[in-house]
Amino acid sequence: MKGNYIARSVSDNGALMDPKDQIISLLKEADLYQKQGLLNEAKERYKKATDLIKQNTGIKNGKELIASIVKKVVDLNQKINDINAATSKPTVSGQKQDLIKKLFAGGGDKENYSNLLEGAIALAKFGQFDRALSEFERLLDIEPVRVAAAKNIARCHLEVEAFEEAARCFEKWVDDDRFTNAQLDKIRFFLEGRFRKSGFERELYQHEETVSDEDMEKLEMESESSDKPQADEGLPAVEGQEVDLEDMELPDEDEFLDINSVGILIQAGSRKGRMVELDVSFQTGNSINLIISSKEGELLTALEKGTQLNDMQFFSPIAILNGSGVVTGKTQIKSGPKEGDYSLDITILTT
């Protein structure tokens, strides 16, 4: 077909629409979407309008119109590229970092070491690594949070894939009198695990009294609990607070989830039929340990070694699971701040 022609099109609501009107409508939509910051939608409308102009050679000043649309699309592409290229976690002002600490540390305004640790963790979670690192560094002076602070320093470096820097930090701590061999083992074990996961090969210094495989397993079990700040003379106790960046990553699906607390259905006594929630003290694989106050006489009676616990609930940071378990150990704590209380081991059978 020769000559200029204008093809009629069907609008979104099915009515026949003059192409000129349709082009005007598309351009109006595109401009509005652009104003709204909906850049891809604006681009798509401009493209539709261009196609329509090309199809309808009878449109007056068609070429000029296309040229002006092309210019708008070029500008849009530039904006889209700028947005895509922007870092998702840029460093913000000190004032805003303070606000992040205040709002997301979860420990209130008290200036105790656990809150300081949580504040630094909040900064790291929002990608404010430089400030977080300097705060973790200061926390290395505080015994109860030293290992947690060190592991979080390593995590900050691992987050930005600075594996070598994480290894260098560890080597620096090896020569640092503040760290005991046991603490260094915990950090080394943690780092080696992360290096393995990331496919980064690097030998880390190991002190002469090397740990056996058996000790290593024990260490793995302990690391869950000892990373958490413990109550110490003169320092405020910490209860039920997450103290490291564990929840920055989800565990592998084939591993046991980290269980924070469990719900146990009481099967006898005056509280029969009630669900009691207890914090998990530490966990290794499918074994969890709980500390139960000696004042909980009835509960302790109901939880003798060998008791099968049906209708249990397992609370992890990412899910609540129903399942069952069995009490595999019950011992009274002979010394320390929890003297007289009971340590209960439960093996998770099903979830």
Binding site: D12, S25, K28, E29, L32, Y33, Q36, G37, L38, E41, K79, D82, I83, A86, S88, K89, P90, V92, K96, L99, I100, L103, F104, G106, G108, K125, F126, M248, F315, S316, P317, I318, A319, I320
Partner: protein, 204 residues
């Protein structure tokens, strides 16, 4: 989870505005900041990018005064709507007490609304809670654009897309003009405080 100070009879709760990018979450907070001067107890803080997109969150502290003998404080937050800020969105959502889901009425944003609601559902699930259990109010924003002749989703259709199962209270709104903003926040506060009253028995 809200904090309740028994000694001072003070309760502090967290309400989060959720929704797809550019749907008007920040605009809601800006309107509240401008309009409710008496109840605002601090500056509104926005951590955003050059393109006016929320990067981490917006934050607005409010004080509602004494309700049933208890001093009620509210922290309003928005999440970053852009898909790539998923981990930040999840952080902001932690321990939320009440939610406003702001949906964009533009027809071209229909799918984004649904994806954002799904994202909210999944993030809540990851914290061990259900979207059905958290007090939630739906807001269908940008209704004013109808006057401009821009294709919008009918409210009934939006409600069918997003709220068929949730059956949450919903409001049409134009956050830029302030329409529907007070109703949305009032309803959300009401539901949230009722829920906290059930949980914490603070008003007794």
């Amino acid at each position: 989870m809200a904090t309740f100070n028994f000694k001072n009879r003070e309760i502090e709760c967290k309400i989060v505005y959720y929704g797809p990018g550019r749907c008007g979450k920040t605009t809601n907070l800006e309107y509240i900041f401008k309009t409710y001067k008496k109840q605002i107890t601090g500056e509104m803080v926005s951590i955003d990018t050059e393109g006016d997109r929320t990067l981490f969150f917006d934050f607005l502290p409010m004080g509602l005064g004494k309700i049933k003998g208890c001093d009620v404080k509210v922290q309003l937050y928005t999440v970053p709507g852009q898909v790539q800020y998923s981990s930040t969105r999840k952080l902001v959502l932690k321990e939320v007490d009440g939610l406003v889901f702001v949906a964009d009425s533009l027809e071209v944003r229909r799918e984004k609304n649904m994806l954002s609601l799904k994202d909210l559902h999944e993030n809540l699930k990851s914290y061990g809670t259900s979207i059905f259990k958290v007090p939630l109010v739906m807001q269908y924003n940008k209704r004013d654009l109808e006057e401009e002749g821009i294709p919008l989703m009918p409210v009934e259709k939006m409600n069918n897309d997003l709220n068929r199962q949730l059956k949450a209270p919903y409001y049409s709104a134009s956050a830029i003009k302030g329409k529907g903003v007070p109703q949305t926040i009032t309803e959300c506060l009401k539901l949230t405080l009722l829920n906290l009253q059930k949980q914490l028995k603070w008003a007794k």
